[in-house]
């Protein structure tokens, strides 16, 4: 049971609206996003339900959902939404709010996805470019799943799909500085 009527002001809704640039109150629950979304079956709350949860101010439950981590940003939903809500940006807004407020879901899939993104981000921070083999390897190490996708590796390497060499942006320092500055901006606002 969800207890309502205890708070008049829905600060969560306001925060999500401001960050996403859409007005979630416009959602009339038609469900077009749900059947459009290629990964709604994998989400514990599909987009339509997330919208209603935000409307009801269910902050904690929303943060613990895996939906915004599974969103592919493929924009199929927003292209079909009759109320023109930018659903991927709403998902992004919720994700960023959860990161800002340091809420970590204990869903193993979400953990995996976060690890992937963290590795990716680290890679860009250090080299300015992405290097797929190394990323795969590091991901497998950090998720303790050493042999995942290993059956693909010999074939891919043999066919020269994944080069062993490594590229780096000449001014990798510039990227590192950029990251620090961006982080500072995030904190100051």
């Amino acid at each position: 049971m969800i207890a309502l009527g205890q708070q008049i002001e829905n600060k969560f809704l306001t925060a999500v609206n401001r960050k996403s640039g859409s007005n979630i109150l416009e959602c009339y629950q038609c469900g077009k996003c749900v059947s459009t979304c290629p990964v709604s079956d994998f989400m514990d709350f599909p987009p339509r339900e997330i919208m209603q949860m935000v409307k009801l101010g269910m902050k904690e439950e929303t943060y613990m959902a895996n939906s915004m981590w599974f969103c592919l940003t493929c924009a199929a939903c927003s292209g079909r939404c009759p109320r023109e809500i930018d659903i991927p940006r709403v998902m992004e807004a919720i994700r960023h709010l959860a990161i800002e407020e340091n809420v970590n879901s204990d869903n193993p899939k979400v953990k995996q996805i976060r690890i992937f993104h963290e590795i990716f981000l680290d890679m860009i921070k250090h080299y300015g470019r992405n290097y797929e083999l190394r990323m795969m390897a590091e991901f497998n190490i950090r998720t303790r799943n050493l042999f995942k996708d290993m059956h693909l590796a010999p074939k891919a390497l043999l066919k020269g799909k994944i080069p062993l060499g490594h590229e780096k942006v000449k001014s990798a320092k510039a990227i590192q500085r950029m990251f620090r500055m961006a982080e500072k901006l995030e904190k100051t606002k």
């Binding site: 009339y28 038609c30 077009k32 749900v34 109320r83």
Partner: protein, 657 residues
């Protein structure tokens, strides 16, 4: 010298408790022009009014000021008192010392008293500049023009004509009947549309007070309420209606086949055609765009087979003029084109049809003999998916509004499908079921129970082809699961969209329309039948989406409005309208541009002083002017003034305090 009488009302305690009324009277007496001032408990009561009447006669008053409630309340009452005493009623002014003083300054009697005195001073000053005004009478041509021969136009024409008022009914297509003639059965009673409509169509054709002009369009409307002049183009039909018997020999023999508009293009008609068997008038016309005789001069078969010799390939469009007093616009609707729904594969998949196409298919006199079929292979469908709100309630791809009738006709379609194809199953994607109307909710329940149709709450998101089936994806929000329906046929409940030529027609008539093209009513709640232009009324879907009962009700309402307008030989009008002083008018025509009613035209008058030349001045049509005063304020040479609110009156008020 002005002699003003001031009557201050206590309004029981309403004014008396918060304003020192006797003091106000004393103040009023100090005004030079005030010859008589008195207070009374209720000036609006009979004795109060008698007091005014007596004073007017005894004191030889030239104007009267009543200090009481708002003029929006009792101005008419007091005006009548004045005219009863033989005084021009427009010599009255009301000082609003109740709503504007006693009620809003209840804690400050001194200030309220002072303010009341000021308001009386202003009213007195204004009344000195008041002029005698007389109600305007405008002659009326007692004939109505009805544009559009659908059910709304038919109903309006019949109701007006039954009041023995002549009606000109203009219909652009060869037959009246409109969209309703295309329907099979109608909700919520499932009575056959043709059976209830065709008797009315025949009544129109035979009514002594109705002049039916089919295959015609209104191309010009001049004049103003009660005195319009309409130009109507009678498109060349190439058939002499007077001699044609409607035998049908011509269209049986005509070799040219054209997609049949009446059947939504599902089958073909001929180049000479009557749209449907029950058409009124049941006379064919030649479609000039497709007739080989008219395009290339070859063929002429219809003329050869016509025993009456009614075919005339040389016929030209003809313009006729009619003098009329009022117009009823009933141009109806078009179906919204669902092309933007690319996710449904509209245009790519043949087996997606719209609801009117479905309606034609299930009609007993339809192109498929009353059985729905798949356009791709002609097979009878078993699984039919109905998608509601296609275009409606979708500001991204369609329109914001609800089309109002789709929930109901989709429920009806599930029933019709069930009746025509026993072993079929209907799936309905809906968002909400809006069944507000007499017997409507009951009807939806009946459809759901009788047919066992599967209602899925959600907007369908995608249709794709798998083999010869259409796969329809959507969420059923009731169970929170994505569903996929294997369909033989998909029927889109496309939105109601205003008739495409509405904006052109609106400009021609001088009325306004909304962003979609629906014609605008004068007030959304209290004047839903009138337009802002006096004497032009709206009926049916031309104003907003409506079902048949609503369209018929509004049509009858327009008839009542027209009859009311034509009740006397002349129309009475408020005299508070603008007037031009030709002496000052420079002919700049700024006023012509600002007038929201196109009430101002220009005229040429002699220059005067013995010169022969002419000069242009503004001329206000007093039948049309509503008295807003826009032109007065824009006039640079102060040539225009507004009776009842003249510059002099208002300036007098301003300087009076």
């Amino acid at each position: 010298m002005a002699r003003v009488g001031v009557f201050v009302c206590f309004c029981g305690a309403n004014i008396g408790d918060f304003v020192d009324v006797p003091a106000v009277v004393e103040e009023a007496k100090k005004i030079k022009e005030v010859k008589y001032a008195i207070d009374y408990k209720y000036v609006c009561s009979d004795p109060g009014q008698q007091m005014i009447r007596d004073a007017i006669v005894q004191q030889r008053l030239t104007s009267v000021v009543v200090a009481a409630c708002s003029p929006r309340m009792h101005e008419k009452t007091f005006r009548k008192a004045l005219s009863d005493a033989g005084m021009n009623p427009y010599l009255l002014e009301v000082a609003n010392i109740r709503e504007h003083s006693s009620w809003v300054h209840q804690k400050n009697k001194k200030a309220a008293t002072g303010k009341s005195s000021d308001l009386i001073r202003m009213a007195v000053a204004k009344s000195i500049a008041n002029e005698q005004l007389h109600e305007i009478s405008v002659p009326v041509t007692k004939r109505a023009l009805v544009i559009g021969g659908g059910i709304a136009g038919i109903q309006a024409a019949l109701d007006i004509a039954d009041a023995r008022i002549p009606v000109v009914l203009v219909e652009k297509s060869p037959s009246i009947g409109g969209k309703m003639a295309q329907l099979d059965e109608t909700f919520p009673t499932l009575d056959c549309s043709q059976c209830i409509l065709t008797p009315k169509m025949v009544d129109v054709a035979s009514h002594p007070f109705i002049e039916l002009l089919p295959y015609s369009e209104v191309i010009e409307l001049d004049g103003y309420v009660g005195n319009y002049k309409a130009k109507i183009k009678r498109k060349a039909s190439y058939v002499n209606f007077d001699t044609c018997t409607g035998c049908g020999a011509c269209w049986l023999k005509c070799p040219v086949k054209v997609p049949n508009e009446f059947n939504m293009g599902i089958d073909k008609r001929k180049a000479i055609y009557s749209p449907f068997p029950q058409a009124v008038p049941n006379k064919p016309v030649i479609d000039a765009e497709h007739c080989t005789m008219l395009i290339k001069g070859k063929c002429g078969i219809c003329a050869k087979v016509c025993e009456k010799g009614s075919i005339d390939y040389t016929m030209q469009d003809e313009i006729v003029e009619r003098e009329i007093g009022a117009v009823v616009v009933a141009t109806g609707y078009d179906l919204w084109d669902p092309k933007p729904y690319e996710e449904y594969g509209v245009g790519r998949f043949k087996d997606i049809i719209n609801s009117l196409e479905f309606e034609r298919m299930v009609s007993a006199n339809g192109p498929t003999g009353g059985v729905p079929v798949r356009p791709s292979d002609g097979k009878v469908p078993k699984n039919v998916v109905f998608i509601q709100c296609v275009g409606s309630r979708d500001e991204a791809k369609g329109i914001e509004y609800c089309s109002k009738i789709c929930c109901m006709y989709t429920a009806k379609h599930t029933l019709l499908l069930h009746h025509k194809v026993q072993d079929s199953h209907a799936y309905v994607f809906y968002m909400d079921i809006r069944a507000a109307g007499k017997g409507y909710e009951e009807f939806v329940k009946r459809a759901q129970v009788e047919t066992g149709a599967t209602y899925l709450r959600g907007r369908a998101s995608k249709i794709y082809k798998k083999g010869d089936k259409l796969m329809v994806q959507g969420e059923d929000a009731q169970i929170g699961q994505v569903v996929e329906v294997e369909a033989d046929l998909v029927v889109l409940a496309t939105a109601i969209y205003p008739y495409k030529d509405n904006p052109d027609l609106a400009r021609l008539l001088g009325i306004s329309y909304d962003k979609y093209g629906f014609l605008s009513e004068a007030h959304p709640k209290l004047r839903p039948v009138e337009t802002a232009k006096a004497g032009i009324f709206l009926a049916g879907c031309t104003q907003a989406p409506k079902d048949i009962p609503d369209s018929v009700a509004q049509a009858s309402a327009t008839a009542a409005k027209v009859c009311g307008l034509f009740a006397g030989d002349t129309m009475k009008k408020d005299p508070m309208i603008a007037h031009v002083n030709n002496e000052f008018c420079t002919g700049c025509q700024n006023c012509v541009n600002v007038c929201p009613y196109q009430a101002i035209v220009t005229e040429e008058i002699p220059l005067g002083y013995g010169f022969k030349e002419l000069r242009t001045v503004a001329k206000i049509n007093e039948g049309v002017c509503q008295g807003c005063g826009s032109c007065v304020a824009i006039c640079r040479s102060m040539a225009i003034d507004l009776a009842g609110f003249t510059d002099m009156q208002i300036i007098n008020e301003i300087v009076a305090i």
